[in-house]
Symmetry: C2
Subunit: 442 residues, 2 copies
Amino acid sequence: MPRSDFLETLYGMTAHASHSDDAITDVDAYMQRLGQQARTAAARLRRADTASKNAALKAMAERLDAARDAVLAANARDLERGRENGLDAALLDRLALNEARVDAMIEGLHQVAALPDPVGEIDGLSARPSGIQVGHMRVPLGVIGIIYESRPNVTMEAASLCLKSGNAAILRGGSEARESNAAIAACLREGLEHAGLPEAAVQVVATTDRAAVGRLIGMPEYVDVIIPRGGKSLIERISREARVPVIKHLDGVCHVYLDASADRDKALAIAVNAKTQRYGTCNTMETLLVDAPVAEDLLPALAAAYAEYGVELRGCERTRAILADVAPASEADWAAEYLAPVLAIRVVDGIDDAMAHIERYSSRHTDAIVTENYTLARRFLAEVDSSSVMVNASTRFADGFEYGLGAEIGISTDRLHVRGPVGLEGLTTRKYVVLGDGQIRQ
Amino acid sequence: MPRSDFLETLYGMTAHASHSDDAITDVDAYMQRLGQQARTAAARLRRADTASKNAALKAMAERLDAARDAVLAANARDLERGRENGLDAALLDRLALNEARVDAMIEGLHQVAALPDPVGEIDGLSARPSGIQVGHMRVPLGVIGIIYESRPNVTMEAASLCLKSGNAAILRGGSEARESNAAIAACLREGLEHAGLPEAAVQVVATTDRAAVGRLIGMPEYVDVIIPRGGKSLIERISREARVPVIKHLDGVCHVYLDASADRDKALAIAVNAKTQRYGTCNTMETLLVDAPVAEDLLPALAAAYAEYGVELRGCERTRAILADVAPASEADWAAEYLAPVLAIRVVDGIDDAMAHIERYSSRHTDAIVTENYTLARRFLAEVDSSSVMVNASTRFADGFEYGLGAEIGISTDRLHVRGPVGLEGLTTRKYVVLGDGQIRQ
């Protein structure tokens, strides 16, 4: 299929490869071409056998290994440009690649190759009174658009998961990582070529023009689902404007409720871990709810533990009656996703009060109860309306790898199609298959 | 919860009840109120036990039985108005209720009550290396908006399926059936009240103002999914403008491919049944594909059978070389959904040619192959990208009841969430449930 001279330059990967989107003047036409090429590739990928897909993944890993110097050099140019443009330390850290991170990408490709292929799976065939047998077969979604920022390894992760699940991918990374992403994508495409799979199975949007995003999310004739990964405002904007279905989560306002019946050790361990194991993740606890009868016992012990980690506490009146030096929590605190060592604490009166608070403030991502009461555990599991609901486990377990999916392309808090951590299966759908012996309908 | 005087009049169900939406001047505010009430009801329905829901369904059936005269009288007023407004015979037939159709509605309510309740089902819990057990629990979607035309029994069908699956329903029927729908809805609400379930579990949009539809499909904060049932232009418009996810199918351009290896009797029986068993349904075959080696043998026999049913044939050049008096088929015929006794026929060269035609022209609803070849059967099942794919069975089997779903609220040809006939399960989603014993993440 035709390539513009620009793409040739980009994927030619010379030491002095520089990015210029002057060559792409008609963004609409460019995006439409990407879309058509993706659809064509998807029709072939749908039929690709597991061996070919795994061969491509392994070839991608080999190419990445062989090209690591070029990839790191491209990344160095992105970092240089980032520093010139005033990116802060946290952003530069997300942007940076090093030998260890390249190794992790290579390892990731091998891991995806080792995953079972969900495509073609038939989960059962039931015999109907008419004589037909009816079941479901798992098939790829088709074309997946991934819009992301900063982290170049997402290029590899997203492309490999889409490929393994038989989907074509259109990748739109952040402009700050454009040379890194292009370098990684070149390795991915060489891997596809090696395995005899279509090059357009993985396409990188090669213009930084913002209009390209608008087109990507607005062309349902070519794209079946959009997966945005990045900050809340990016995801909100995309969700609002997309005409293509979006798999996303907006917030991670997660709760842990310590019931009066809770085992003390479990309560303390989970409440500390859910906040402090990592602060910037979407499944980090942001509000702790403590059942009144055990507040006087648990809160001082927790406060001491949080102090060791340097976690700032904000509490309701009843919390502050027990703990000194805790700032008052406002409405804004109950709704806040801090992504930082800050925790809101509220004393509640039993499970109904806790669930009412969760119903009101939770972002429906992950919420947990610590309890030894069988009935309350079952009620919490049944009644809390979140994508992950837990009993006696840290909210930090809401993760594709921890759940056994072997991968995670994102987390969804939406209700349709897929909910919670999204692995390979979330990138597929099912169709009905019917096996007959000549049956006709009466 | 508060009711306007208008709603009181509507549901008061006097013999002279007349519909007037003069009382609803602020459609936006009215729809927002419906949405809020639906959300509140949904939160309660989510926790409703199976016994309550079944009690409500049975009470609805009893109320409908007791009120049949009033329902039929309301329907007579709709028919009178319809005749005055020039509705044709087919539309009046769809609109009309009679004793038998009321009986069918009552029976339908009992059938839904007898279905297993999908809510709360946990399909398995897997132990992870971390020690947590992870599984999925099935839960309602929340609030479902159903937009439909003509047939008053859809009011009962949709409401009962939504209720059984724990969802709140907002029903927007056609204005031609407004008195019938209001009368049926009154019975539904009395059933809810009898079982102690919230009245707003089933709400009928009581204004014929078109702006109400625009609000319904544009309020994702209150509505989780829209199910439109009606003509293609209605569904297209709704899909284009909706901000709420839509479960729909647009076209039913279905194919049957008769392979050279097909058993002759099965081929003839299926090809005739898939076209003639019913003409106006979405799973009716619209194009027949015949493998060249068996065209000369099969086509005359098929033509004779179709002639008995009065089916008009349109064929490609090779078809017309075998059959006399067949009009030429154009591009438009390959893409057409006739919903009538008309059939397009094309002679093809093997399965790849057949699948290429299907890939191009199918609406991805239902496509079938008749073959005795194992390998070709498996290829067809794997490679045809439709919501239902069949071997040696009539396309007319693509139906929720035939598939064993026990119900059908619609058919979806979309790829996300649910595909093919949509039963109770399609009105639910799943969340992750995690059972731990105090595990924390390392």
